[in-house]
Symmetry: C2
Subunit: 261 residues, 2 copies
DNA sequence: GATGTTGATG
DNA sequence: CATCAACATC
């Protein structure tokens, strides 16, 4: 039974992170790699670098930061960008499609600036619109994997200092509720399936603060969620610190899950 | 008799050109390297990189582009920046001092935008003020080397297309006159001493035009001039294309002269 | 602090 | 086209 790996990585500029992403793909050969914050418009996306190593890549980005991409060895099917509900589609935040035969969503949730700001309301609304797409395009009874930087640390054990950080846009009751609704729809948090109750396991370490990695000052805001059908096949979900250790500019780590299909 | 090399290089940002400048200094060990367009304010000048390889460096730059620096293995003496005639001193365009025992001037002449513009008048005036400093601080009977990007191609053989370029701020009768006056004061053009009449020997290749190096589409606007006392000791004056070939962003070459002291 | 963007310069 | 400054985002 071949290894079936699905991974997510907030790259913080794909052009500045190619030397990390490409070797990682070559060594790990995942069935899907979801990327966020590619920070490049489509005409400048370095698709050739992925093709050279036998990966297809779909992507959507503009000039406003953000940007998402999904790389896969097989040609993806039914690829859609953004939310088609008549409002601002935010194509640079969402890709859905079938990758390696498995329905996959790559999501980059808005960060939200601060709770008092309109950006935070936009974040909450985005979660609602995201779940609509989920319901409309997929079934909780089918196979689905949701990957991405969801800009939420769901529990106190998911941040280094829950007391001080309460009220942060990624750590407050309102965003927890949105995340809960997502799970209620029919998604399991694969990291927690394999690491229940483990505190201090983080996917993000702010590089503006010195020594965050050494002192384990981080956040678990990148996630791989899956429907029962897929979660039942997952055998492992781990955080790969290598990119974060390689250079601080990569402040997110790679999160991956392995499945037995 | 040790090699006594004096060189000039318009670096187009010293911070972006360190990987060229530092190895060049290590390999060539010049007594003086004059640099122009360092494009860095003094608080950010990478002086440590020069110290590490045993070079002193004096520099002056602001936030307006420009910026000059001189590197030398020995501690320089009598270093002065700019023109102290009561007008705008332009400290980021001129360094005078004694480097390795030899009086040296590093000059970055104003480019002049276009002949009709006030910037061109400023360029002509700058040349006059420059000669005043020359007369006041040095003697044509003594030793002196003047290096720099003087933004003048003195003769038709110093540009690739004299017909079409006539009237350019670096190639016109008015700026030729200023350059002539400089020589009349008592300076010899060392490149022409060793390469009299040779056409198509350039120190600058515009990187906005593709293939300038291959097609030899250039300008000779960087110069090493010397008083009789120093010119008599010069044995060689050459253009080092290596930096220009290494990366197009370095659109000037390194010009150097060797002396037997 | 490490990435973008825009607009200005040569 | 490659730099800079300024600003904006995470």
């Amino acid at each position: 039974m071949p290894l079936f790996r699905i991974a997510t990585y907030n790259v913080n500029s794909i052009r500045s992170r190619l030397h990390i992403v490409i070797p990682w793909l070559e060594r790990n050969r995942p069935v899907v790699l979801c990327m966020q914050e590619t920070k490049v418009s489509d005409d400048l996306f370095p698709a050739d670098e992925f093709r050279k190593i036998g990966y297809h890549v779909v992507f959507r980005g503009g000039k406003k930061g953000n940007g998402v991409a999904v790389a896969a060895p097989e040609t993806p099917r039914e690829v859609k960008f953004g939310i088609d509900d008549g409002k601002e589609p935010c194509e640079d935040r969402l890709i859905t499609g079938i990758f390696g035969g498995v329905p996959v969503i790559n999501a980059y949730a808005p960060q939200g600036f601060k709770m008092q700001a309109p950006q935070f309301q936009f974040k909450l609304e985005w979660y609602g619109r995201f779940r609509e797409i989920l319901s409309r395009r997929f079934s909780p009874k089918g196979r689905l994997v949701v990957c991405g930087d969801l800009n939420v640390a769901p529990e106190p054990i998911d941040v280094h200092n829950p007391k001080r950080l309460l009220g942060h846009v990624d750590f407050n009751p309102e965003i927890w509720k949105e995340f809960e609704e997502l799970k209620k729809w029919g998604l399991l948090d694969l990291f927690r399936k394999h690491h229940a109750g483990e505190a201090g396991r983080f996917t993000f370490f702010d590089y503006r603060i010195p020594g965050t990695v050494e002192r384990n000052i981080g956040w678990r805001v990148d996630h791989i969620l899956a429907t029962k059908a897929m979660a039942g096949k997952s055998v492992r979900c781990e955080i790969d610190m290598a990119p974060r250790l390689a250079e601080k500019a990569s402040d997110h780590t790679i999160l991956f899950a392995d499945f037995e299909i």
